[in-house]
């Protein structure tokens, strides 16, 4: 039997039911956010009220699972109240950590709740030793969630130069990998993913059947049309199909999902502490299947099984971790 890989499995929860599902499926930690603009998945009908988060925390702790609360958008200038409230609430209810990106909020959390563990969100886009060491020195950050731009070799080299745990994305949607700095969807929706927690907000999205084709629109612009036998993708500009130089195609990113099950030992050897499964906006069926799959793989009981049907575009990649095109 393959030996157990001691990587912490950090799993998404957009609802209390998804949280319980993740815990039952074998998550070591669950990350979740409050139902407002303080977290980067501020979608309608999603996320937790204070009472739901408290109940979720009790459920997680009763099953020896940690709960990490994401307060990972950037606070509105001059009005940080909701973000401070979210951090205070996380500390009061005994969350195992807060996931932050904004240096003002990191400073607030470090000063106001020094014992509350602080993780640096991928939204901070910290990908080199100088940056990460700065966050560690200035705000006592204990873990950094690395952007998806690094190869395994680069992660190993980075880990040799920092004294902070690293968490990497293991499964889920890919993006142009400019987390925290991407304003692409803002140009057509007027909403910021980094300030309001909405990338391609649903209010700006329309799907329409035109004959056998499915057409997706964002902010009134047609950004993709899927043929009758073609897998669909998310309605983000980075996954749009455009015509340039008389050729239509995916200019930025194809609708493909990340899956690192093939390189788990490599990530462990590179000094990675935790694996993050993306998808707080996904349903509990996704959470159950993906978390169970990764739990099996980490416990040495085989691979994750077929997760392809869970992926955007129904295709998988190891992404930048194996940058074969270089």
């Amino acid at each position: 039997m393959t030996p157990r890989l001691s990587l912490e499995l950090v799993c998404p929860a957009g609802t209390p039911a998804a949280l319980r599902t993740a815990v039952d499926a074998g998550a070591d930690a669950v990350y979740a956010g409050f139902r407002d603009a303080t977290n980067a998945r501020n979608f309608p009908g999603l996320n937790f009220s204070r009472a739901e988060m408290r109940e979720g925390l009790a459920y997680a702790h009763a099953h020896r699972c940690k709960l990490l609360i994401a307060v990972n958008t950037y606070a509105e200038a001059g009005a940080p109240g909701p973000w401070h409230d979210a951090i205070d609430a996380a500390a009061d209810m005994g969350a195992d950590a807060v996931i932050l990106a904004d240096i003002g909020l990191l400073d607030y959390a470090a000063r106001t709740h020094p014992h509350l563990r602080r993780h640096l969100s991928v939204q901070a886009s910290a990908s080199n030793p100088e940056s990460i060491n700065f966050y560690q020195r200035a705000f006592g950050v204990r873990r950094v969630v690395l952007p998806r731009v690094l190869t395994v070799a680069e992660i190993a080299h980075l880990n040799e130069q920092i004294d902070v745990e690293t968490e990497v994305f293991a499964f889920g949607g890919m993006c142009p990998m400019a987390e925290g700095r991407c304003a692409l969807s803002s140009y057509v929706t007027g909403e910021s993913p980094n300030l309001r927690g909405v990338c391609s907000p649903a209010s700006a999205v329309r799907y329409e059947k035109r004959g056998e084709d499915l057409v997706s629109q964002l902010g009134g612009f047609t950004i993709n049309a899927f043929g009758p036998h073609e897998s669909a993708g998310y309605p983000t500009l980075c996954k749009g199909r455009f015509t340039a130089n008389d050729r239509a195609g995916y200019l930025f990113e194809e609708p493909t999902s990340l899956n690192v099950t093939g390189i788990l030992p490599d990530l462990r050897a590179a000094g990675v502490t935790a694996l993050k499964i993306e998808g707080r906006q996904r349903g509990k069926a996704y959470v159950a299947e993906v978390v169970r799959g990764f739990r099996r793989a980490l416990d040495g009981n085989g691979r994750t099984g077929a997760l392809g049907n869970m992926t955007e575009g129904q295709r998988e990649t190891a992404g930048a971790y194996r940058r074969d095109w270089r």
């Binding site: 957009g14 609802t15 209390p16 039911a17 998804a18 979608f43 309608p44 009908g45 999603l46 907000p201 649903a202 209010s203 999205v205 329309r206 799907y207 329409e208 059947k209 499915l214 899927f226 009758p228 036998h229 073609e230 897998s231 669909a232 993708g233 309605p235 906006q281 996904r282 349903g283 509990k284 069926a285 996704y286 299947e289 049907n309 869970m310 992926t311 955007e312 575009g313 129904q314």
Partner: protein
């Protein structure tokens, strides 16, 4: 917007017959639908709480393999679930379309909505924000549709559970046989199309070759 017949597109009927059919369908289905929605409001108040901003939204649920569509309004105090009228379909905030078994699995959280959408088994149209809110609100609950239906029949709940099991079994068998029949009819046609496509591609290649080199096409091609 797709056009509608009173009982949906699966079994289009003449208007007068359709009106009678609609009335009969409403007559039979409305009482259990009303009770079911009341039960949902009672057992799953969190759904309605999460849907507060969409209380006036009319969701049309269109099971593609049933001759009926449903209109649903998740207003906390007076929620409603009914057989969709033409007016409902016309005024729908959003429409969700897919096979009934998948819609039930989706409602029960057994299957992921995004995965269904990626694979094109689920089609959504209209106000995406309202659909996303509905999906998230429903997914946050643990719903057992068969039990909800059975409970809506009051003292006949046990008998209804058995009936649902029998209907599901019959439905699954029927669908399997229909698929076999479809394959038997469509496969030869699909083979013909594939063969023709192959011939067309070969012709295109030859034309391109002619344009490039001005040479005569190879002999021996038969379309």
């Amino acid at each position: 917007m797709k056009t509608s017949t009173p009982l949906g597109s699966a079994f289009p009927l003449p208007p007068s017959v359709g009106d009678i059919g609609r009335s009969l369908t409403q007559l039979c289905l409305q009482p259990p639908l009303t009770i079911m929605m009341r039960q949902m409001a009672s057992h799953h108040p969190a759904i309605f709480e999460r849907m507060t901003n969409y209380a006036a939204a009319v969701f049309v649920v269109d099971p593609t393999d049933l001759p009926v569509r449903f209109a649903m309004v998740l207003e906390r105090r007076s929620p409603s679930l009914r057989v969709a009228t033409d007016d409902d379909i016309e005024a729908a905030t959003a429409t969700i379309q897919g096979p009934i078994a998948l819609l039930v699995d989706l409602l029960e959280g057994k299957i992921d909505g995004d995965a269904l959408f990626f694979s094109r088994q689920l089609v959504v149209e209209g106000d995406t924000e309202a659909i996303v809110a509905l999906r998230n609100a429903v997914d946050g609950e643990e719903i057992d549709v068969r039990s909800e239906i059975a409970r809506s029949t009051g003292p006949f709940a046990g008998a209804m559970r058995n009936l649902i099991a029998v209907l599901e079994s019959v439905f699954a068998r029927g669908r399997s046989r229909l698929r076999t029949l479809q394959d038997a009819i469509l496969e030869p046609a699909a083979n013909d199309i594939r063969s023709q496509r192959h011939d067309i591609d070969a012709l295109r290649d030859q034309i391109a070759e002619l344009k490039r080199g001005g040479r005569k096409p190879r002999s021996g091609f038969s379309a």
